[in-house]
Subunit: 83 residues, 2 copies
């Protein structure tokens, strides 16, 4: 299982409710792709959103976003993290 | 106190030890700017790194990175997060 950070653009004006709804749509189907969405952050001003997930591949993560109606192509495997 | 995600590029081949060292350099001086670095993730293949922080302003966060020797200009305030 690998860890990924993906990036969405163009979500200017996004509200907490909209981010929550999008995240729940991902979570409703993520198991079918073996993915787990861990957390998402958004900047309504620039329209950027960042999603942290675990899954078998970047394609699996992108398929969940695609099927949930908010596709992106920008994703990075992040095998290293520190705190 | 606001929350921020900043992005570094060009860190191809970054190791866990190097990320840990960079993160510790930030943490050693962050209080002087009223900033707290929470977590960082990196993709050694693409050379991207993402840092989650809290602080009084994006300039304060960028000043810490700058003073610690790994400046970036890409930063987003992320007032919304869900999990």
């Amino acid at each position: 299982m690998a860890r990924f950070m993906d990036v969405h653009s163009g979500m200017v004006g996004l509200t907490r409710e909209q981010l929550q709804e999008a995240h729940q749509k991902d979570q409703a189907i993520e198991r079918e792709e073996g993915v787990r969405f861990i957390k998402a952050w958004a900047d309504p001003k620039s329209g950027k959103a960042f999603c942290l997930s675990e899954g078998p591949s970047r394609d699996a993560v992108l398929r969940v976003h695609d099927r949930a109606g908010h596709p992106t192509t920008e994703i990075y495997e992040v095998p290293i993290d520190v705190e």
